[in-house]
Amino acid sequence: MKYLYVGAAAEVDREALTAVRERVAGEFGVPVRELELPGVEFAFDAGRNQYGSIPVLEMLSRRSPADALKLLAVTERDLFIPVLTFVFGHAQLGGRVAVISLARLRQEFYGLAPDREVFLERASKEALHETGHTFGLVHCVERRCAMSLSTSIRQIDLKDAVFCPSCAARLRRTSRES
């Protein structure tokens, strides 16, 4: 039996973690397990005051349990890849591991009043998106699909926390194969 693991360090918002776990369990149809992960301080880049998502993915690959079909990590820290100013998340396309960052999903990050509902919804969408990449899904042209590209928080808010029929069908095909 293979599982979809959702892992996080102790500091991560528990409510967000629950929302993510429930959403991926509902959408991918694979039994979900939780996993306690170490913090990502080792990936800190002092020059950018951010955390590199590439070393985080490398760590996840090493820590991935033997019975893990996929491992999705959730972090509070702001992530980046060298060429971009930030990323909401990062995944191995068609691989095993992915990570999402909650840092830029809260209203407070943009100087707005907190809104838990909006925050949890955003976390769920990003979880679906990055896990979708590990199943080989690429960005979808359908703006409301969870797999559509989001380079800003507005774009995350515009999409739904579900896959469009075409991505869902592609996902079913890949799941059958894996």
Binding site: I54, P82, L84, L93, V138, H139, L149
Partner: protein
């Protein structure tokens, strides 16, 4: 699908290279990477990428600018995006001068890269679509598509092929529906001007002043309603071919203007004082006998001789009846695909009707007749019955029965329908035959609901 567009990322820092490549792959692109300028040029020599992301500072004697220049030597239109961590005004200016599409500073905002890539791919898609459409179009109008085994037509095609690469003016004469524009397009597409525009103008369709502005363009304020400058068809056809259909119908003033363009290859826009020079090949066509028009003093002889450098006379269909079965079969094949009908054959009886008919509207009328028969046909073969409307029309053209008790209006409707039938639906010819002007004829066709 984006995967058919390939992107090359060039950076000596592996982590930079791979992270951008991975990010673009998530967007659905096929991405290659190269750790040096030299390897990038090697890859570009084997493949033309849709976008090149090139890092500015790379060791090994070949920096981003040099890499870009070598790539652009291989692919002059290649969109190269220079990326750098050390932006200076000087490097930005050099990069743009040498033809970089964009110059971005890393780390870049994901939204910025995404918009940039989308913009370039959008243009690439349009360019690809344009190439495909151009290819389709030129395939559609080749001499090989002119169907005929008639000796006169073969001689015409040989002449047209021979003159395709020249700039000499061509005058195509032939009745309506004989395929004058098809020959004109085939001449254009077989010559060196094929990649340039082919602009067709029907001189009969517009009034004198409108036609003048249509052909030569106008300046802002040249006349009421000329709110901005407009390029004329001659300017649009620059480098290519202009096809002037129904040239016999142009006014004496336009005949003078046209003569000037043919002599000097230059003209003035309506209301303009600046001379506009163009390199345009003129192919003119007419269904009237221009020599006769010259003799009658309706057409300038000097213009006629300028136009008639190469003369092509297309015979009417009734003078090349051997082509009727060939053409009919061609239309059946083409239309069965378009209409979604499985009709492959034409019965002998039906062919006899087609061979006996006079075809005043020529090939166009034959095409319309085949389409009409196919629409009503219920089997897999076109029969005599499917073409019965042609035999009725033949009778109608022979004698117009006038039963007693008919109103004048009914009589008029009958006469207009018969005249249209005879001219193959040609409005101008029908109006002339009936002795009324075209707008009156249109109005009556509409009022009596006469099918054309």
């Amino acid at each position: 699908m984006k995967t058919h567009w390939q992107i090359l990322v060039v950076d000596d820092e592996e982590v930079m290279c791979e992270s951008l490549a991975a990010w673009l792959r998530e967007d659905g692109y096929a991405v290659d990477t190269a750790p040096s300028g030299r390897e990038a040029v090697d890859k570009a020599a084997h493949k033309d990428y849709a976008i090149y992301f090139v890092d500015l500072k790379m060791p090994g004697g070949m920096d981003g600018i040099e890499t870009m220049m070598q790539i652009r030597r291989l692919h002059p239109e290649a969109p190269v995006i220079i990326i750098t961590a050390y932006a200076t005004v000087d490097t930005a200016i050099t990069a743009m001068k040498e033809g970089a599409q964009e110059y971005i500073v890393k780390p870049c905002n994901p939204e910025e890269i995404s918009l940039l890539v989308n913009r370039i791919i959008k243009v690439k898609n349009l360019q690809r679509e344009n190439t495909i459409l151009r290819k389709k179009l030129s395939r559609q109008y080749r001499f090989g598509d002119v169907i005929s085994k008639n000796a006169r037509m073969q001689a015409i095609l040989a002449l047209a092929t021979e003159v395709a690469s020249l700039r000499s003016t061509v005058l195509i004469q032939g009745e309506s529906g004989t395929g004058k524009e098809l020959i004109a397009r085939a001449i254009h597409n077989s010559g060196e001007r094929a990649s340039k525009p082919f602009v067709a103008v029907s001189c009969a369709a517009l009034a004198e002043t409108l036609l003048e502005s249509e052909l030569f363009g106008h300046e802002r304020g040249a006349f009421t309603g000329a709110t901005q400058q407009k390029r004329g068809k001659f300017e649009m056809a620059d480098g290519g071919t202009i096809f002037l259909d129904e040239i016999g119908d142009i006014s004496p003033k336009l005949q003078v203007d046209l003569l000037r363009v043919l002599q000097d290859r230059s003209f003035y826009r309506v209301g303009g004082s600046e001379e506009v020079r163009v390199d345009v090949r003129v192919v003119a066509a007419t269904h009237v006998n221009l020599q006769q028009a010259v003799a009658d003093g309706k057409f300038r002889d000097d213009l006629f001789y300028r136009l008639n450098v190469i003369e092509i006379r297309i015979p009417p269909l009734r003078e090349r009846r051997e082509d009727i079965p060939l053409l009919a079969q061609h239309f059946v094949e083409r239309l069965s695909h378009e209409l979604g009908k499985e009709i492959g054959e034409i019965s002998e009886g039906a062919l006899k009707i087609l061979m006996d008919y006079n075809w005043p509207g020529n090939v166009r009328e034959l095409e319309n007749a085949v389409e009409r028969a196919m629409v009503t046909c219920r089997g897999h073969e076109l029969t005599e019955e499917d073409f019965s409307f042609l035999t009725q029309a033949s009778v109608a053209t022979k004698a117009l029965a006038v039963p007693a008790g008919m109103t004048l209006e009914e009589m008029e409707k009958l006469l207009i329908a018969a005249t249209l039938q005879r001219t193959g639906g040609n409005i101008k010819e029908s109006a002339a035959m009936l002795g009324i002007d075209r707008s009156t004829l249109y109005e009556k066709i509409k009022r009596y609901e006469i099918p054309r």
